[in-house]
């Protein structure tokens, strides 16, 4: 099947029939047969012996398998991680930042963050509270225009955030929870329908916010200077070294035209108010 995620198209095949309904639930409305694929990926069971004894699956991009096999029960998360890997390691025509992207009134805010900073919980909360989800995992930025492009992917929730987001938004579409992956328990959340995603346009980045969740912490906002912003942001660019000088000037342009903040927060409502009152123009 061909999955169109907006900026990229994946040809996906698998011998694991159990993940097909999951793929269809998340991407069913963007599956088509006419587009040319950017990436051809597979999730395949490993050896015949392994089909009976602790079954495992491998991810392939063309004939290349970049990861070690994982337990078969983690086939779907492996597909999502593999798709991220394909984009991050192959697309050198855009600046790819490890960041969530939320947009309101045509103004984009990107949230680069290290694992455990609460990025996906923050993304899910805002995406289901009036913001447009452009990405949970990767900001895809056009090198010529500096605009961030929307990509059609679910939000990847981990551990306790699965429980929280289900409690806040019980009517949303969640995949099953996959236990004990390398990132802990994982579930995916579908936020937009394909026709809603298609109505989104590339957006101007007005701010870069580095979030950090600290339990019970009152919202604390630090305004970063451009040097701090440049250094921190460049560390979150997947293809910074590959792009070389082009990436260097792309980051420079981004930080010159964006507000730069680091926030520590314990309440997503506080973050929402901060973004609406102090960041959006």
């Amino acid at each position: 099947m061909l999955i169109n995620i907006g900026a990229y198209c994946f040809r996906v095949s698998t011998d694991r029939k159990d993940i097909v309904p999951v793929i269809e639930s998340l991407y069913g409305d963007s599956i088509n047969t006419s587009d040319v694929a950017d990436f051809s990926v597979k999730i395949l069971s490993t050896s015949i012996l392994r089909r009976f004894l602790k079954p495992q699956v491998s991810f392939f991009c063309d004939q290349h398998s970049p990861f070690k096999p994982l337990p078969a029960a983690q086939a779907y998360p492996l597909l999502e991680w593999g798709m991220n890997w394909c984009i991050a390691t192959h697309d050198h025509t855009r600046l790819l930042v490890h960041a969530a992207v939320l947009v309101k009134n045509g103004q984009a805010i990107i949230f680069p963050a290290v694992p455990g900073s609460g990025k996906s919980t923050l993304t899910a909360y805002h995406a289901l509270s009036g913001w447009s989800l452009y990405s949970d995992e990767m900001a895809v930025i056009d090198l010529k225009t500096g605009l961030v492009e929307p990509i059609y992917r679910p939000v990847c929730l981990k551990n306790n955030s699965i429980y929280l987001v289900k409690k806040w938004f019980p009517d949303s579409l969640f995949t099953p929870t996959w236990k004990d992956t390398q990132k802990g328990d994982v579930a995916h959340l579908k936020v937009l329908k394909w026709n809603e995603h298609r109505s989104l346009s590339p957006a101007k980045i007005i701010a870069v916010v580095f979030p950090k969740y600290v339990k019970d912490q009152e919202l604390t906002v630090y305004q970063l200077n451009q040097l701090q912003g440049f250094e921190t942001l460049s560390k979150n660019v997947f293809n910074y070294t590959t792009l070389g000088k082009t990436g260097f000037f792309a980051v420079d342009r981004l930080i010159r035209h964006a507000k730069l903040f680091e926030i520590e927060y314990g309440s997503l409502q506080d973050v929402n108010e901060f973004l609406a009152e102090d960041v959006l123009m």
């Binding site: 200077n225 451009q226 260097f248």
Partner: protein, 94 residues
């Protein structure tokens, strides 16, 4: 003693508009150097280094580390040595 430097042919520099410092990129190694302006204060967010135009427009001009970054003599030597060893700059004159 004043030392002047030229940037390597494959070194690019951007000066932060808010005066917070300078970032160098080496096209040889793909590495960046983030150099903070020691006199930068949040209260003066738009203070511009005086050498901005020189740096951006003409790489042959001397690269005056001490004045751009408001460093003392000891720190200037350390930064110069690091930039020299990592192929961001070359000595122009003594």
């Amino acid at each position: 003693m004043s030392r002047s430097y030229v940037l390597h042919a494959k070194t690019d520099v951007v000066v932060m508009q808010d005066g917070s410092g300078v970032v160098l990129f080496s096209g040889f190694s793909g590495r960046c150097a983030f150099l903070q302006n020691q006199s930068f204060k949040v209260e003066d967010p738009f203070k511009k280094p005086t050498d901005t135009a020189v740096l951006l427009e003409n790489k042959i001009q001397s690269f005056e580390i001490k004045s751009i970054l408001s460093l003392n003599d000891v720190d200037t030597l350390k930064v110069e040595k690091w930039l020299l060893n990592n192929d961001f700059i070359s000595i122009l004159s003594h």
